[in-house]
C-alpha cells in the first residue's frame, strides 16, 4: 500500500511538472499604453519606409529627436518640411542639405498623432528593442523535445501500471492462500517462475516473437533508409520561417518563386532578400548578425547604404533539407500551378517553424497515397478536355470524382524517367 502511495505521489508531481510552464513576472510595460500603440501603428505605416529609430535610412535616425527639437517645430516639419526650408529655417536647411536634399513629403497628421509617434520613438529609444514584443523572443525551444517527453511519460505510466498489477496479484495470491490455509485446503505448489521462463515452449514463443519483431524492424528500417523526416539542420543563416511567413505573412512564392513555374521551388538568392533587407538591417532575435551575412554575400555596405563597388559576391551555401533520389523526377509547378496543392500539404506548417524541418517522409508510399486520394480539378483546366470519356462519366454520375490515379498518376513514368 505504501508503495502505491509513493508511486502516486511521484506520478502526480511528474504530471504537474509537465504542465507547469515558466511564468515570468513582468515589470510595468512601457509598451502597454494606448499612446504607444497608436504611435507604433502610424510609425510603421507612414514613417518606417524612410526612418529608423537608431539608424540612418533615407532620412535621419529618430532616436532622441523629441529632445533635440521642440515639439512645435517638429509638428511643422512633419506637416510640411519644405515650407520651413523655403523660410530658411536654419535647422530645416541643415537637415535638408545633410540628406542630399531629398524631400520629406508633407503628412496630414494631427498634432496628437505626431505626439503619439514621438512617444513611441521615446519608448523605443529608451528601452532598446532587444526585449521587444517580437514573437520570436517568446518562442519555445525547438519542437524536437516534446515527442520524447510523451514517450517517456507513457513508458513511466506503463511501468507504474505493471508494478501495480504485479503487486496486486501477489497480494491477492497471498490473501487467497491465507484463506485456503484457514479453510484447511491444500495450497497449490507454485511452479518456480524460472521453469516457465526456460521451458521449450517459451523459447519457441520468444524466438517467434523475435523473428517477427526483427523482420519487421529490418523491413521498416530498410524502407526508411535514406529518408530523413524531421531533418532540421542548422543553416548558415538562422533564417526563421516563422518570422517571415508567419508573423510578417510574406507569401511563400515571393521568395520561392520557382514553385509555380517549374521543377524547382528555388531557394531565393540573397539579392532577393535585399528587396526588404536594404531597409531592415536588424532582426528581433539576432539583431544585425544574421542579416549582416546577407550583406556579406551581396556586398552591401550597411553604413553607406549602397553596394560595395567591384565586390565579389559570395553565394550562401544552404543545407538542403528536402532530398529526393536521383531517379525521381518531381516538379513543383505540376503540384502548385496545375494541382493547386497548398505548400503546407507537403511541407507542413512552415509558417510556425523557427528552424525549417522536413515535415513529410517524401517516401514513395506517401506520394502514391496522395495521388490516390486527391481529385483533379477536372472542370477547372482546359487541358483535361482531352479526357472525353471521363468527362462523360462525371456528367452521368458514373464516377463522383476523378483522382490523380484515374488519369495515370500512379504510373511509373510520371515520376521515373
Amino acid at each position: 500500500m505504501f508503495n502505491i502511495r509513493l508511486f502516486g505521489l511521484i506520478f502526480g508531481l511528474f504530471i504537474l511538472s509537465l504542465f507547469t510552464l515558466p511564468v515570468h513576472a513582468q515589470d510595468a510595460d512601457p509598451r502597454a499604453g494606448e499612446e504607444y500603440k497608436k504611435g507604433q501603428t502610424i510609425f510603421s505605416a507612414q514613417c518606417a519606409s524612410c526612418h529608423k529609430i537608431n539608424q540612418k535610412l533615407v532620412g535621419p535616425a529618430l532616436a532622441g529627436v523629441y529632445d533635440k527639437y521642440d515639439r512645435d517645430w517638429i509638428h511643422k516639419w512633419v506637416k510640411n518640411s519644405q515650407e520651413l526650408v523655403k523660410a530658411n529655417d536654419p535647422k530645416a536647411v541643415a537637415i535638408f542639405t545633410e540628406f542630399n536634399k531629398s524631400v520629406m513629403p508633407a503628412f496630414s497628421l494631427a498634432d496628437a498623432d505626431i505626439d503619439a509617434i514621438l512617444s513611441y520613438i521615446k519608448v523605443e529609444t529608451e528601452t532598446p528593442a532587444a526585449v521587444s514584443a517580437a514573437p520570436a523572443a517568446t518562442g519555445t525551444a525547438p519542437a524536437g523535445g516534446s515527442d520524447n517527453t510523451i514517450i517517456i511519460f507513457l513508458v513511466i505510466i506503463a511501468v507504474v501500471l505493471l508494478s501495480v498489477l504485479l503487486i496486486l496479484s501477489r497480494i491477492s495470491d497471498a490473501l487467497r492462500n491465507m484463506m485456503r490455509e484457514k479453510m484447511g485446503q491444500l495450497i497449490p505448489v507454485s511452479i518456480p517462475i524460472g521453469n516457465v521462463l526456460f521451458s521449450k515452449k517459451m523459447a519457441a514463443f520468444v524466438s517467434l516473437l523475435a523473428i517477427i519483431f526483427l523482420g519487421y524492424a529490418t523491413v521498416d528500417s530498410a524502407t526508411k533508409l535514406g529518408r530523413q523526416q524531421g531533418y532540421a539542420p542548422a543553416q548558415p543563416i538562422k533564417f526563421s520561417h516563422q518570422l517571415h511567413a508567419g508573423v510578417n505573412k510574406i507569401d511563400c512564392q515571393y521568395c520561392h518563386s520557382g514553385a509555380a513555374k517549374g521543377k524547382s521551388a528555388v531557394i531565393p538568392s540573397p539579392s532577393l532578400c535585399m528587396n526588404c533587407h536594404k531597409a531592415i538591417s536588424q532582426g528581433p532575435v539576432y539583431g544585425t548578425t544574421e542579416i549582416a551575412k546577407i550583406y556579406d554575400a551581396v556586398g552591401w555596405d550597411a553604413d553607406k547604404l549602397q553596394y560595395k563597388p567591384d565586390y565579389e559576391e559570395k553565394p550562401i551555401e544552404w543545407i538542403r533539407i528536402h532530398n529526393l533520389p536521383d531517379h525521381v523526377y518531381f516538379n513543383h509547378a505540376q503540384h502548385v500551378s496545375a494541382g493547386g496543392v497548398a505548400c503546407q500539404t507537403c511541407h507542413g506548417t512552415v509558417e510556425e517553424m523557427e528552424v525549417m524541418r522536413q515535415h513529410s517522409t517524401l517516401g514513395m508510399g506517401w506520394c502514391v497515397n496522395c495521388h490516390r486520394q486527391t481529385s483533379v480539378n477536372f472542370a477547372g483546366n482546359e487541358f483535361y478536355k482531352s479526357y472525353e470519356t471521363l468527362h462523360e462519366d462525371l456528367k452521368t454520375g458514373k464516377v463522383k470524382q476523378v483522382t490523380v490515379e484515374d488519369i495515370g498518376g500512379l504510373e511509373c513514368q510520371k515520376c521515373h524517367y
Binding site: 530498410a222 521543377k263 538568392s269 551555401e317 482546359e382 487541358f383
Partner: protein
C-alpha cells in the same frame, strides 16, 4: 522470334484461362488456326528479299542463329571473367571473405549518415533564369563548311542540347548529326585551357605583345591560313589585319574542296561562286556523283527541300524523280529512284552523254549500254521538265562542272532551281593558293603564318611538305582549340572559343545572315580568334562591339522594317537570323515573351511554294564547253583500279574526330563506327578471294594504308573507296585517334585538288580478320516467317502502282484491317483493338509515332539527337564490336534487289511502344509496364537485369547496361575502362547530361521512352496555360532533329493530329503487325518513282478476301 512466339503462346494461354474469354475453345485447335492464318496471309506472295548484310543475304548459319537471339553472344561478362576465375579459382575461404566483406560494407553503408547536401542559390540571380526551366537561345552552328541555324537549349546556364531553328529559310529547323553533336565538343577535355607559347601555358598579354612585335618585324609574307570563312565580320577583321600588315595573304584552304564548281562558274558566267540550288522546285533531279543528301555543299537544306518533293499521299500521288549515277554508294544514291553505277572516270562521260542527248554540243562516249539507255531516258524526262529540274555533280574536275552547267543552262534551270545571284559563301577555297603557299613556305619567303580553323598538317595532301615548310616560318601561330597536328608545330597557341561561348555571325548564302551568340561564359582562358586578330592589328575593341558596329554599318541598312538599330539587333538576336529577302520574320512584340523561343520551336514548318509556270530560258554563258568535253572524253575509260576518297557525314575533314558521339554514330551506309575501312564490291572481293573484314593494303603513288575491307553493295567493281577524316594522331583523347588517314591520297591536277586516284592503285591482302565496330548485323529484326516466306518488314511500291492503287505494297495491312478474324493469328486477346485495355487506352491521350520510309534519308541526325537528349552512354569501339552499343534508336538499312546495285531502304527503329507489349508480361518485377498514355514504361530503379524483356522483344530495341558507362553507380570502378578514363566519366563531359533524364547504372535495361520528359513538360506547359494540348506542342528529339520531316509524333486518340492522319493512311503499316502486339509506331511504305518491278506486280495484286 521463336522465343517470342513461345512466350506469347504461354501468355495467351494464361490470359485465356484466366479471363475465361475462350472458355469453350480448344487451345490446341486455336493455335493450329493461328498457324493456318499465318500461312494464308503469306501464301501467293513473292516478296523482294531484303537484307542488311551479306550474312543475311546468304542465310549464313551463325547469323541466322544470332538473328533469332536477342543477344549475339552468351553472357560476355562470364567469358571475360573466365580467365580471372581460372587463374585463381575461388576457394571456400575466398567466398567467406567476400561474403564477410559485403555484409560489413552493407552494414556500414546502412549505418552511415545521409550525406549533407548543399543547395547554393545564385548570389545575384540573372533575371531571365529560373532553375529547372530551360532557356533557348538562337545561334548558329558554323564550322568550316557546315552550317545550321540552331536554338541552343540551356539549363542553369549550361548548353545541353542543340535544336533546329525553324525561322531560318536555309535549314528550316533541320539539323545534322554534326550540329547535334556540337554541344558535346564544348565540354571536350582535350581543349586547351589557356594560351600557350612553345607548349607552355602563357598569358594573353605577354603573347599579344610578343606577337605584335614579331608581326611588325616579319619579313616576307604573313600568311593567314583558314578554312572557308562564311562570317562577314570575321572577314572584316581579317581585312583590318591586312590593312595593318599589307604583306598579309589570306589563303582559304578547304581540305575537302569543291573548287571545281567555283572555277567552272567563273569561266562560264564570270562569277567564281557556288550558286544556290533548290531541290524543292526540281521535279527531275540527276545527281552525278554528288551526295547532296549527305555532304555536298549544304546537305541539311537540300534534304529539307528534297524531302518536300518526296511526300506522297493519295490526294497528291506525285513525287520528284531522282536519277543518280555514281561509283560509290552515297546517301543520295541510296534514296535515288534509279541508280546506276559508273566508274569514277566515267562520271564526266555521263554528263557529256546527257548534254548530247539534250541536244547540246556533245560527242558520243563509250559507256555501259544500260547507263546510256538511262541517260537517254533521264534526258527525256529533263526535257519535259525544263526549269523544274536540276543536274548536280560532285566532280572535282571543273571540266565536268562546266558540262553540268551547260546542261542546266540548256534546261533553263538558272533563275529557277539554280540562283547565281544568291551564291553560297561556302567552299571558297582556291586549291592552288594553298599549293603555292606551301611552295613559298618551303622557299622561306613566308615570315609569319597564322592558322585558324584549318589543320593542314593533318589534312593537306602533302602534309610532310607542309610541315617542313611550316617549320621554316619564323613566327607560327595556331588558333586551334587544342594542340592538334598543326598546332604541335607552332610557337604560339592562341585558342579560339567554342562557338557556344562566342559572338559571331555568318552569311552562308548571300543575303542570309545569322548571328552566333554565347550561351555560356568561356570555360577556359580562351579568346575569340577574331579578337586575337584585332589585338595584333592594334584594335583594343571587344569582338562583341566590333561585331555589333559592323552589323550597324553594313547589315542594318539592308532593311527598312525597323528604324532603330537596337530593335533590329534585338530581333536578329532573338530570331538568330536576318534574311534580306524576308526581313520581318517575327513581330517585334514577340521579343521578351517568356516562352517566345519555345513558340518558335513548336511552330510549323514553312511549306514550300509550288512552282507554277516557269520561265525556262538560258542565260548568257561563255567558256569553252567543247574543250571541256574533249578533256573529259580523253580521260574516260582508263582501265585499272580506281581509288575514291570521300567525306562521310560524321567526321568531315577530321575536325569532328574527338567527338565520341559522332564517332559512335554509325555511318549511314556501311553502319561502321569508330573506324574507317576500304569499301570494295563483292565482285572484286570474290575475284581476289577476300573475306569481309580481311585486312588489305591500299597503295597509290607513294602512300599506302592498311585497312579492313567491307563489301559495299552498289560499289562499282573497279573502285575502292576510303572515308576521309580518320587516322588523326592529335585529335584529343587516345580512343578517338582511330582509322587511317586517307588525305595523302588526294591529288592536285594543277588547278584543283582531286579526290580520285585513277592510275597506279593497287590493293592486296595483308592480314586476316579485323574486328570492325559495325552495327549492321546487330539487333536484326527476325523476319523468319512460316516456310519460305519471310515476314515483310519493308513494304514498298512503285509510284505508278501507287497511283492506281493506294494500298499498293501494303495489302497485308489492308487484309488485316478489313478482316481480322480470317487472319486471326494473334496470341493476344483481340475482342476489340486493345483487348481488355480499350477503355483505358482510349480515355485520354495516347502517344504514337509515324515514320515515312520514303522521306527518311538515313542521315542519323535523329540517332545523335536521341543520344544527347536521353543521356545515352557512349561505350567505345571495343564494346560496339561486342554489340553492346546503347543507342535507343538505330536506323536499319536494308538492301534489296541486285547485289551489285541494290535498292536501299532506311528504317528508323526504336521502341515501338506496343500496346500488347511482349516485353511487359515477362518482367518478373514489373519494371517495364504500360502507361494509360500508351507508353511502354521502363522503371530503371526497379529493374533487376534479368533481360527477359530484351529477349522477348521482336524489334530488338532494348539495351542492357553491361557496365557502368557513365559513372552512375554508387560504387566506383564498376566500368570496363582502364583507370576509369572513359570520356563520359569526366566531370567536364558529364556537364552535357540532360538533368531531366536519369543516368542509368550498370545492370539495368533501357530503351526509347518516347522522350517522356518532353511529353511531361509539354503537358505541364498546357496545364499552366489552362489550355488543351495542340498538335505539335510536343516533339520528340528525333522528330525535332530530322531534316527530312520523316518522323511525326503526337496524340493518336485525337483523330485530327498529323500522326493520326498519317497512321490512317493506306501507306501506313505496323512492323510485324500480324503478331497483334499493336506497335505505337506506324511506318509509311517506301514509294519509288519508277516502273514497277516484276515481283512487285505479282505481289501487289489486289487480292481481296471476303
Amino acid at each position: 522470334m521463336r522465343i517470342l512466339e513461345v512466350w506469347s503462346v504461354k501468355n495467351a494461354i494464361t490470359k485465356r484461362l484466366t479471363t475465361n474469354l475462350y472458355k469453350n475453345s480448344n487451345i490446341k485447335s486455336q493455335f493450329r488456326k493461328e498457324i493456318v492464318g499465318i500461312t494464308k496471309i503469306y501464301s501467293n506472295m513473292q516478296h523482294k528479299k531484303y537484307w542488311k548484310g551479306f550474312e543475311e543475304l546468304n542465310d549464313d548459319a551463325k547469323f541466322l542463329q544470332e538473328k533469332r537471339n536477342e543477344f549475339p553472344e552468351d553472357l560476355p561478362i562470364l567469358s571475360e571473367l573466365g580467365n580471372v576465375v581460372n587463374e585463381n579459382s575461388a576457394t571456400r575461404r575466398d567466398f567467406l571473405k567476400v561474403l564477410g566483406f559485403s555484409v560489413t560494407a552493407a552494414a556500414i553503408a546502412a549505418g552511415c549518415e545521409i550525406p549533407v547536401r548543399k543547395v547554393i542559390p545564385y548570389a545575384l540571380k540573372p533575371e531571365e533564369l529560373v532553375p529547372g526551366i530551360a532557356n533557348y537561345y538562337a545561334s548558329t552552328f558554323l564550322n568550316g563548311n557546315d552550317y545550321c541555324s540552331v536554338l541552343v537549349k540551356t539549363r542553369e546556364g549550361r548548353p545541353i542540347k542543340i535544336e533546329g531553328n525553324s525561322l531560318s529559310d536555309i535549314t528550316q529547323g533541320g539539323t545534322s548529326a554534326r550540329a547535334q553533336a556540337a554541344v558535346v565538343s564544348l565540354y571536350d577535355g582535350s581543349r586547351s585551357i589557356s594560351p600557350k607559347k612553345g607548349g607552355q601555358a602563357a598569358d594573353w598579354k605577354t603573347i599579344d605583345t610578343e606577337i605584335a612585335k614579331q608581326l611588325a618585324a616579319a619579313s616576307g609574307t604573313i600568311a593567314i591560313i583558314t578554312d572557308t570563312i562564311a562570317s562577314p565580320t570575321t572577314l572584316k577583321a581579317i581585312n583590318d589585319f591586312k590593312s595593318r600588315f599589307p604583306n598579309t595573304k589570306h589563303v582559304v584552304f578547304d581540305a575537302i574542296s569543291y573548287n571545281s564548281i567555283t572555277a567552272a562558274n567563273e569561266q562560264m558566267f564570270g562569277k567564281a561562286v557556288v550558286p544556290s540550288y533548290d531541290f524543292g522546285k526540281a521535279d527531275v533531279i540527276v545527281g552525278i556523283g554528288a551526295d547532296f543528301l549527305g555532304t555536298w555543299i549544304s546537305p541539311i537544306e537540300f534534304t529539307k527541300q528534297y524531302s518536300k518533293k518526296r511526300k506522297v499521299n493519295k490526294t497528291e500521288p506525285k513525287m520528284s524523280k531522282h536519277w543518280q549515277f555514281e561509283s560509290i554508294m552515297s546517301m543520295a544514291g541510296a534514296k535515288a529512284d534509279k541508280r546506276f553505277t559508273v566508274s569514277p572516270t566515267e562520271e564526266g562521260a555521263v554528263a557529256v552523254a546527257l548534254l548530247k542527248e539534250l541536244g547540246g554540243t556533245g560527242v558520243s562516249v563509250t559507256l555501259d549500254e544500260n547507263v546510256l539507255k538511262a541517260v537517254k531516258q533521264a534526258a527525256m524526262e529533263l526535257t519535259e521538265n525544263k526549269g523544274k529540274s536540276l543536274v548536280v555533280s560532285g566532280s572535282r574536275d571543273s571540266n565536268v562542272q562546266m558540262v553540268v552547267n551547260a546542261i542546266n543552262n540548256l534546261l533553263g534551270n538558272y533563275g529557277n532551281t539554280i540562283d547565281l545571284n544568291r551564291p553560297y559563301n561556302l567552299y571558297q577555297g582556291k586549291d592552288k593558293d594553298m599549293v603555292d603557299l606551301v611552295e613559298e613556305m618551303n622557299a622561306g619567303r613566308v615570315g609569319a603564318a597564322i592558322v585558324y580553323g584549318a589543320n593542314p598538317a593533318y589534312n593537306y595532301r602533302e602534309s610532310d611538305k607542309f610541315v617542313s615548310g611550316f617549320k621554316k616560318v619564323p613566327l607560327t601561330i595556331s588558333m586551334s582549340d587544342r594542340i592538334d597536328e598543326t598546332a604541335e608545330h607552332t610557337t604560339y597557341l592562341c585558342p579560339d572559343n567554342h562557338f557556344l561561348e562566342s559572338w559571331g555571325d555568318a552569311e552562308v548564302k548571300a543575303g542570309y545572315y545569322s548571328l552566333i551568340q554565347p550561351t555560356i561564359a568561356p570555360l577556359f582562358d580562351t579568346r575569340p580568334a577574331q579578337e586575337s586578330l584585332l589585338r595584333w592589328s592594334g584594335n583594343e575593341a571587344q569582338y562583341y562591339d566590333y561585331l555589333r558596329s559592323n552589323w550597324q554599318q553594313s547589315i542594318f541598312p539592308k532593311q527598312s522594317v525597323l528604324s532603330s538599330f537596337d530593335s533590329f539587333w534585338d530581333r536578329a538576336l532573338h530570331d538568330g537570323i536576318f534574311e534580306e529577302s524576308n526581313p520581318s520574320k517575327t513581330a517585334v512584340g514577340d521579343i521578351g515573351g517568356m516562352y517566345a523561343n519555345r513558340a518558335v520551336v513548336s511552330g510549323s514548318n514553312t511549306k514550300s511554294t509550288e512552282a507554277g509556270t516557269v520561265n525556262a530560258t538560258s542565260i548568257p554563258a561563255s567558256g569553252n564547253v567543247e574543250g571541256a568535253i574533249q578533256a573529259i572524253t580523253q580521260a574516260t575509260g582508263a582501265a585499272g583500279l580506281k581509288l575514291v576518297v570521300y567525306e562521310n557525314v560524321l567526321m568531315g575533314d577530321g575536325r569532328y574526330a574527338n567527338n565520341p558521339f559522332l564517332q559512335e554514330t554509325p555511318e549511314p551506309i556501311s553502319k561502321v563506327c569508330w573506324d574507317n575501312y576500304a569499301a570494295v564490291s563483292k565482285k572484286m572481293a570474290d575475284e581476289k578471294g577476300w573475306k569481309e573484314h580481311d585486312t588489305v593494303e591500299v597503295k597509290a603513288g607513294n602512300y599506302a594504308v592498311q585497312l579492313p575491307i567491307i563489301y559495299q553493295p552498289g560499289q562499282k567493281a573497279d573502285t575502292i573507296s576510303i572515308a576521309l577524316g580518320y587516322g588523326r594522331t592529335k585529335a584529343g583523347v587516345e580512343q578517338c585517334n582511330v582509322g587511317k588517314n586517307a588525305f595523302p591520297f588526294v591529288g592536285f591536277d594543277g588547278k584543283q585538288f582531286t579526290y580520285t586516284v585513277t592510275t597506279g592503285v593497287s590493293i592486296e591482302k595483308v592480314g586476316g580478320r579485323y574486328e570492325l565496330p559495325r552495327t549492321q548485323m546487330h539487333h536484326t529484326v527476325d523476319d523468319t516467317g512460316v516456310g519460305k516466306n519471310k515476314r515483310p518488314l519493308i513494304r514498298e511500291a512503285s509510284l505508278m502502282t501507287y497511283q492506281k492503287d493506294s494500298w499498293a505494297g501494303n495489302h497485308i495491312s489492308k487484309k488485316l484491317k478489313e478482316n481480322q478474324d480470317e487472319y486471326f493469328f494473334t496470341l493476344y486477346g483481340k475482342d476489340n483493338e486493345y483487348g481488355p485495355h480499350t477503355e483505358l487506352y482510349t480515355r485520354g491521350l495516347h502517344w504514337g509515332l509515324a515514320i515515312d520510309l520514303n522521306t527518311c534519308v538515313g542521315c542519323n541526325a535523329c540517332v545523335t539527337a536521341c543520344n544527347i537528349e536521353n543521356n545515352v552512354p557512349i561505350v567505345g569501339a571495343q564494346e560496339v564490336v561486342r554489340a553492346h552499343e546503347m543507342h535507343w534508336m538505330r536506323i536499319d538499312r536494308y538492301y534489296s534487289g541486285d547485289m551489285e546495285n541494290p535498292d536501299v531502304t532506311f528504317m528508323p527503329m526504336m521502341c515501338q511502344h506496343c500496346d500488347n507489349a511482349p516485353c511487359e508480361n515477362v518482367c518478373p518485377v514489373a519494371a517495364t509496364n504500360h502507361s494509360s498514355e500508351g507508353i511502354n514504361q521502363m522503371a530503371y530503379n526497379r529493374c533487376i537485369g534479368t533481360r527477359y524483356c530484351a529477349n522477348n522483344c521482336p524489334y530488338k530495341v532494348r539495351r542492357f547496361n553491361w557496365y557502368d558507362y557513365q559513372g552512375a553507380d554508387s560504387f566506383y570502378k564498376n566500368t570496363i575502362f582502364d583507370n576509369d578514363e572513359h570520356i563520359m566519366l569526366e566531370d567536364l563531359t558529364r556537364m552535357v547530361l540532360n538533368p531531366d533524364v536519369t543516368v542509368r547504372s550498370r545492370g539495368v535495361i533501357e530503351k526509347c521512352s518516347f522522350c517522356v520528359q518532353r511529353i511531361q513538360e509539354g503537358k505541364l506547359e498546357a496545364k499552366k496555360g489552362n489550355r488543351q494540348l495542340k498538335d505539335g506542342d510536343i516533339k520528340t528529339a528525333c522528330q525535332q532533329a530530322c531534316p527530312a520531316d520523316a518522323i511525326v509524333f503526337g496524340d493518336v486518340n485525337d483523330k485530327t493530329t498529323e500522326v493520326s492522319v498519317l497512321s490512317a493512311n493506306e501507306r501506313s503499316y505496323r512492323l510485324l503487325e500480324e503478331l497483334h502486339v499493336l506497335p505505337g509506331v506506324a511506318y509509311l511504305t517506301q514509294i519509288r518513282n519508277r516502273e514497277p518491278l516484276a515481283e512487285e506486280e505479282q505481289s501487289d495484286k489486289p487480292n481481296h478476301h471476303g
